[in-house]
């Protein structure tokens, strides 16, 4: 079926935004528990290569995604041990984790450099995917896209509708009070960190197994950093993460479409390429103008190590 131009733009936008949604939702949960993990880019890289290698050898994309998840958990575990058990500085450890992850992924990926996987067709939901516009957009996506929507629903429910979610938020706001009420702050932060790692790993897996599908060194190309920015952009609220990720993906896709249309527009493509980043910065500035709002929404203990016996 020939899709209309508008439908293809929306489809491409959702596809481009999906790895950001997955990784950013993971990081959001981590930050809500009061931990700042700047290692997303590195975790995504390792997740991407682990998923790619396993998918290539096993022939199963889903085994690959699981491997990406496992690799992400392993990377997050390193971060957890450093910052939660050994109480190292979170910012420095996160940055180190990114550098380590990018190097490690290049090292593991050497034998896989520029190899490719078979294309994974979109998962068409029978009957519904033939509807005009809404059909392909809502029911004709790659399977991992549906998963990102389920993930969003799960995170929203968890944070706002479940008791463990409430505890997690309490830990992020005031670890001391949570501790004195009898909650194990470090254990909860560990779980959140590992969840974040798992999601960053899946985000990387989406890139190497579903999106491109190939492996080349450095293919995450800054998407980990964008995911981090999105969490702030969304003022730590999951629905806004989704909106932000699609906005970001949309601006990127739109500028490609504009260029490809052959229309005579007098805007430098370098400027168009930087538009998504401009959008992020502008929204950040707008949000930050309102100090009360920032204070209200950012987890109060973000980035501060917690020593239970202190």
């Amino acid at each position: 079926m020939e899709q209309s131009l508008f439908t293809s733009i929306v489809m491409a936008t959702i596809l481009a935004g999906t790895p950001l949604v997955i990784a950013a939702l993971g990081e959001l949960v981590v930050e809500r528990s009061g931990v700042l993990n700047l290692g997303t880019e590195g975790i995504m890289s390792v997740g991407a290569i682990a998923a790619f290698a396993v998918a290539l050898h096993s022939g199963s994309a889903w085994t690959g995604v699981l491997a990406g998840m496992a690799a992400g958990i392993a990377m997050a575990m390193i971060f957890g041990i450093l910052t939660l058990t050994l109480l190292a500085n979170q910012v420095a450890s996160g940055l180190a984790l990114t550098i380590f992850g990018m190097g490690l992924s290049a090292f593991i990926g050497k034998p896989y450099e520029s190899r490719t996987l078979p294309e994974i067709p979109s998962l068409q939901i029978p009957g519904l995917s033939d509807l005009p516009f809404f059909g392909p957009v809502l029911f004709g996506q790659k399977s991992l896209v549906y998963l990102s929507w389920l993930l969003l629903a799960a995170v929203v429910w968890f944070l706002y509708r479940s008791r463990p979610g409430l505890v997690l938020r309490a830990v992020g706001e005031s670890p001391t009070s949570a501790h004195s009420t009898g909650y194990h702050v470090i254990r909860i932060r560990y779980l959140a960190t590992l969840f974040g790692g798992a999601m960053a790993g899946v985000g990387g897996a989406f890139l190497s197994v579903f999106y491109t599908p190939l492996w080349v060194e450095g293919m995450v190309a800054g998407r980990g950093w964008i995911a981090l920015a999105l969490v702030v952009f969304a003022t730590w609220r999951p629905l806004r993460v989704l909106a932000g990720a699609y906005l970001f993906g949309g601006v990127m896709i739109m500028q490609l479409f504009l260029q490809g249309s052959g229309a005579q527009i007098d805007i430098p493509s370098q400027f168009l390429s930087s538009l998504p980043y401009w959008a992020t910065i502008i929204v950040l500035v707008l949000i930050s103008r309102n100090a009360a709002k920032i204070r209200l929404h950012s987890p109060a203990s973000l980035g501060q190590p917690y020593r239970p016996d202190a």
Partner: protein, 364 residues
Amino acid sequence: MLTRRKLIQAAGGATVAGALGGFDLTALAQEPLRIGFVYVSPVGEAGWTFQHDLGRKEMETTLGAKVQTKFIESVSEGADAERVFRELATSGNKLIFGTSFGYMNYMEKVARQFPNIIFEHATGYKTAKNLGVYNARFYEGRYMCGVIAGRMTKSNILGYVAAFPIPEVLQGINAFTRGARSVNPKAEVRVVWVNSWFDPGKEREAANTLMSQKADIVTHHTDSTAVVQAAEARGAYAFGYHSDMSRFGPKAHLSASTHVWGAYYTKTVNEVLAGTWKSSNVWGGVRDGFIRLAPINPVVPASVREEVAKVEAGLKAGTFHPFAGPVKSQDGKDTVPSGRNMSDDELGKMDYYVEGVASQLPKK
């Protein structure tokens, strides 16, 4: 056991050889020439660096025991490169190849510090007594691909995913356009700049964008195989670049403009071995064996193959130039009058689209 007598003999031999011409010739004949290669990306299975490594291997096979090569990959174009070049120079390599434009200033600096070591830099323009440069006329291959594209397109819209608007990339776009329009004046080329050499996700999106806007043939000047894969997935056609990329899209891949460095590497090393090497600036094309078209897809009819073969023969004989005048720029200005070919100097300064490119060039 080493006796004192043998030691004296050896010393005497060395003195004689030294007196003859400053070189220990016997040692030179026995000891292989050590050669270092510095690559900007991993070798992988296709692409810019892969082609250079093919050239290295070919040279090594041809020269056998006379050479001993070594390569260092993924060396970024920064201070790191300078360290790597210096390390290769101090560890016994007598000839060092650097294969990325951004190594230029570092190679020049290190070459000055090691006047007895020979440096060869791909795609740069700074030379010194012991620093030569070499490059290929990539646009010649693009022109041939353009001829195929012009004949094979049904929508008359060709898509081009490009990295940065530098002369080398513009030469490729313009040659491709001229090739296509030489056989199909209705063909137009649309360009999408991704402003990155290396972002497979974005390259793929750019290709998809072009295809959903009616381009039925796409090609790229970026570093991954994503565009060819995207075309395969959508049932469109594509051209590879750097390498034969038919493995990445067997149905889509019409042909590719490939780079062949082996003959040049063999020749250069032979000159160094013979002591006849001189710093020079080499820009080789189809004629010199630097550029070759990958096998053409069986879907391309014989008549088109003949047309391409004619162009290739002209390039080989030196009777045909992809930018033979008149060359009209996009806004209708004559940049090269009829009756002469575009000079190398003009090619090196190219900063415009030719007639037939539908997109707007990013402003400086």
